[in-house]
């Protein structure tokens, strides 16, 4: 039995079916960072260096989307044979951040439409002898239909 691990540590929780992206929030001005900023607040008008770890919202709104029809170069580890995938930019309302991610398996651009609700899921990225490595994906929220 292989162990399930994140492809890169510290970016998201391994909590299927409800994973969360790991960010930080400035205790001074309240602005958010993803990936987590742990050194100092990047707001030029804020001198705070106390940043708290936070779980970001799991749902957001589709800002835009595109596709990768050709295999990206390394350090991407592509499936063999390569399968094209869609990519989404999703706006999280509470945090005021737009975050990119591949769209979940089986959902192509024809099913997407700007403004539709999206949620965070996990998907296998690649595996080796001992581990299965995961990343985050965006998926239209159950019931959401786009491309009408």
């Amino acid at each position: 039995m292989k162990t399930h691990v994140p492809a890169v540590d510290g970016l998201f929780t391994m909590d299927p079916p409800e994973p969360r992206l790991l960010g930080t929030r400035c205790r001074g001005c309240g602005t958010y960072f993803f990936p987590a900023e742990r050194t100092f607040c990047r707001n030029p008008d804020c001198d705070e260096d106390a940043l708290e770890e936070v779980h970001l919202s799991r749902t957001g709104t589709l800002w835009s989307y595109t596709s990768a029809n050709y295999q990206p170069p390394a350090p991407f580890v592509a499936k063999d044979p390569f399968e094209p995938f869609a990519i989404a930019a999703v706006e999280l309302e509470a945090e005021g951040i737009t975050i990119l991610g591949q769209v979940a398996d089986g959902v192509g651009v024809e099913a997407l439409e700007a403004g539709m609700p999206m949620e965070l899921v996990l998907r296998e990225l690649y595996q080796d002898e001992e581990h299965v490595y995961f990343t985050w994906n965006w998926k239209p929220t159950d019931g959401a239909v786009g491309g009408a």
Partner: protein, 395 residues
């Protein structure tokens, strides 16, 4: 005090895939620029190199690499990097030296020998490097960002894939007679639309290639210029602005934007601020421009730039294009050189090449693609990790 510096000479090595060293392209461009200026390499007091990160150590110290190739002369040197905005960084350093009175005449050189296909990050495992992270964990390439902006433009402004393809058709026509362009062939609209889809909604012919090429400028103080020529083209402004926090539009190579929560939004978005800063410095506006050279990494991005450099209000770019206003002969020709659509991108040379084109246009020497009566022009470009790049030239 005037902030003008003179463009005494310009030179380029044609763009293409030549399979030679970037040093050779840069030196050829530099020799042409010196000849154009009527100067010798020995006359140059300061050399500003634009770095390339894909050609080993000589590329990281491009200024010295070019100086050595031209023959050590004791000239002072700088080497700068700003991704796609590298050329503007080199121009800015040379110009600042001239305006500060630290030198009278400087040579700016940028050149690249580019790999085929997608640009990829440099090697090694570096999770803290956003450029490594986006490739590894999401398979996000440069065209991903171009596709996101294009789809957003379709959703917000009703642009179509035909509009994007029409930019390629225009730029291919403009580049037909440019001896330095890599592609000199008309491209019908249907050919763009039937080329392979790379990053929805963009096709292969909507996205610029990666190229080899070199470009160089001889810049001088106005006093120095008066002794060598009459009425030289002048650089009236150079913008190298960074974004203002929070930068809320997703930007290469990041996986996320800044957060809007807890902070006020800046007056201008990053891309809008780039040319704006140059206009302010030159005390000129978009209406004073005779032409523009914008960074058409994708066809759709060219339409975004029309609005971001003030050629039309947001949402009107498609109309400006369809009305022929950005074609040579129109109100404000954009990319009369043929743009990246005809050149492909030679990263550290490209922003310098944009200024070469403005210079030829303002001198009336842009054979086969001349914008009649050109008096002023603006370039704009953006380097990843937050490098603005815009130059205004006047006569």
């Amino acid at each position: 005090m005037s902030k003008d510096v003179a463009v005494l000479g310009v030179g380029m090595h044609p763009w293409g895939k030549w399979g030679q060293s970037f040093v050779r392209y840069g030196v050829k461009a530099a020799q042409d620029a010196l000849r154009d200026a009527g100067l010798r390499w020995r006359d140059i007091q300061f050399v500003a190199g634009g770095d390339t990160i894909r050609n080993g150590y000589p590329g990281f110290v491009a200024g010295a690499t070019f100086a050595q190739a031209l023959g050590w002369s004791g000239a002072k040197v700088s080497s700068s990097y700003g991704a796609c905005a590298t050329g503007a960084q080199a121009i800015s350093v040379a110009r600042a030296h001239i305006l500060a009175g630290l030198c009278d005449v400087a040579l700016v050189i940028g050149a690249d020998a580019a790999p085929k296909g997608f640009f990829a990050p440099t090697g090694g495992k570096r999770p803290d490097d956003p450029d490594w992270l986006r490739f590894h964990i999401q398979g996000i390439t440069n065209p991903t960002y171009f596709g996101l902006y294009a789809r957003r433009r379709m959703a917000v402004h009703g642009a179509t894939q035909r509009d994007f393809a029409a930019v390629k058709v225009k730029n291919a026509k403009h580049g037909l007679h440019n001896p330095n362009a890599r592609y000199r062939k008309e491209v019908p609209l249907e050919e763009v639309l039937s080329s392979a889809l790379v990053a929805d909604p963009l096709h292969l012919l909507d996205i610029c290639a990666t190229s080899d090429g070199g470009a160089a400028l001889v810049l001088s103080s106005m006093d120095f210029a008066r002794k060598h020529t009459t009425d030289p083209v002048k650089i009236a402004a150079v913008s190298t602005v960074t974004p203002v926090y929070p930068n809320t539009i997703i930007e290469m190579p990041n996986l996320a934007t800044d957060s809007k929560t807890g902070v006020g939004l800046p007056e201008l978005g990053f891309k809008e601020s780039i040319a704006h800063d140059a206009y302010e410095e030159a005390a000129l506006g978009p209406k004073d421009m005779s032409l523009a050279e914008v960074y058409d990494l994708s066809t759709a991005l060219e339409l975004d730039w029309y609005e971001q450099i003030g050629l039309c209000p947001p949402g009107d770019a498609e109309k400006l294009l369809r009305d022929g206003e950005t074609t040579i002969g129109g109100r404000i020709p954009v990319n009369p050189s043929g743009g990246l659509a005809s050149f492909g991108e030679a990263v550290p040379a490209q922003a310098i090449a944009q200024v070469c084109e403005l210079t030829w246009q303002l001198r009336g020497q842009a054979e086969g693609r001349q914008v009649e009566g050109a008096k002023a022009g603006v370039t704009v470009n953006q380097g990843l990790f937050g490098h603005g790049s815009s130059v205004i030239c006047t006569v």
